[in-house]
Subunit: 127 residues, 6 copies
């Protein structure tokens, strides 16, 4: 498998309905729940790229461009942005779809750095 | 857009990490949580195909072929199986990936029937 | 204990308030949460009948006859429908009660098949 | 309906599996989750007795006689203990069943006082 | 460290936003969720005072003086009320702050008794 | 009230027990749950400083210096880092305490930018 095929295969998609249990008092999705889902998506993308154990080292800037209203659908897409020696930087974008209309917009974007570890929790090489 | 393009576009993917909070005392994913996620995936697939409001009418047989161990990754894939006058039948398959190995297996499959409704909760035509 | 007494004793009741955290955007209980609760009720009914470990093999058709509005009470009742060699079929019915009115209606019904397993996850005889 | 029939009918049963997501680091059910479930049971018992809106006024002493291990079943039983002018005192007992053994023990007991209110949140007569 | 310093240091603060996922149909915080948070606060206060393992023995009367509306902030404050031989009584008070106004009111108060245990689950001396 | 008093008063403390339901398969607190709690703390700190409605605009770099093991206690502390015209930058630090030992360490640190909005969701001045 070429690196390009590997990168394509590692891309990880997560669709989610914005139910009332993840909204705040503005009736939009709570930012903390958004970051929770982005982190899980980043973790899965890294794991599926390298098939190693991973822990999060940092989240880089995450930009919330537009609020996500209740009763919409979102898709999180995780992709490998940079391959380091023992770490991966993963970008996660979120697209918003209204339930009753075609079309979608990117509404959140951010990056996360994860470190590959072995069973003794020591960093190991990615490739 | 042809029906085939529409069907392809409606296909809905949801990756998920099997965290301790969704397992049972066998240390495998609790069947109820699996059905919860399948139902949400079926709902999103129907919504994205027809861009109507939907309510669930029935789940057809869902077969749990193999247990899903904690600390694995799963992918749910929802696809439109049958287009009725006011209802859609959606199939949801679940594929299991081990974190540290390539390869995947289908472990759960089932179908769900959803009815399109208008704002007065009356059935409406799908197309 | 006769089989009839055993069947009566295994019947399992679960009352639940439909709080906002289990509703969807139609302000009714999300179908996935309903299936989650039915599966747990089926599991407990099987366990209490046979006092064995159980895993779910399949859910048979589950029919959602009427939506369950937020701020109602529901009762799930699990009962043994069929005793197989190594499996049990459990029926779960859900009854809806309005908070401020007497009376109740059956709104959901479905069946679940569970297999009795030993500590090596191999099927064992029910009786 | 006599008062006795009414009291019998209001008795409210809730079976629950002690899944990993409600345990603490002693691998027993977290006391806070127990109180959460008792309060909901008390609320449903009061509502089903009087068919009024209810808010909690106080929990009386709740005694935790024995820890509830993970992977057991519990049954909460709510019953009307005292009928006041605008309030009800509800007792909630919890019985513990091991999954693989017959028999059960009472492990928690406590009482809760709830006040009946109208749509303006003012206390109203119970009967 | 004097006892007074120890008591001051053990005081445990927990701020919380009242999100839709913890409210009931009156659009106020569900009493069960309040007791859940109070129990966790009591547990942390006891642990931080004595640095022992603790299990809950009883909750004393908890008084709900005023409902807690959705979209407010609350602060739970846990403090050691009485030091017994093998147990601690912890008081937990809850203060309510409106999001858009200065000022706060005490709205809930109650006490919890916890017992210090060793690794064999036997009571041990607090000091 | 001087700005200094206002800043001191806005400091927001949240203690939390790391229960099994927030851990990952390394038996440490899942990074996504950490970010969820940090965002809520940042939101409460901003709200308590300015008594305005707030939405999140971005999270700046969040550094996870050490994993947070299950069965520990953490304290999140939110403080105002920078007062802009219509926005606040809030820093959130997390301190880790072992249950059975005195002492604590800072294990996570990061900043969040929130924008003050009025009832039409338009930015408004902080002071």
């Amino acid at each position: 498998m070429t690196l390009e095929e590997k990168l394509a295969q590692a891309e990880t998609h997560v669709f989610k309905t914005v139910f009332p249990d993840s909204t705040n008092h503005h009736n939009t999705m709570f930012g903390g729940k958004i970051l929770l889902m982005m982190t899980e998506t980043a973790f899965m993308t890294a794991t599926r790229f390298a098939r190693k154990g991973f822990v999060i080292k940092s989240s880089e800037q995450v930009e919330f461009m537009r609020p996500i209203p209740a009763s919409s659908l979102i898709e999180l897409i995780g992709s490998v942005e940079r391959v380091g020696t023992t770490s991966l930087r993963i970008r996660v974008d979120i697209f918003l779809e209204k339930m009753l209309e075609e079309g979608r917009d990117k509404v959140v974007t951010g990056s996360f750095t994860l470190v590959a570890i072995n069973e003794h929790h020591k960093p190991v090489k990615i490739i």
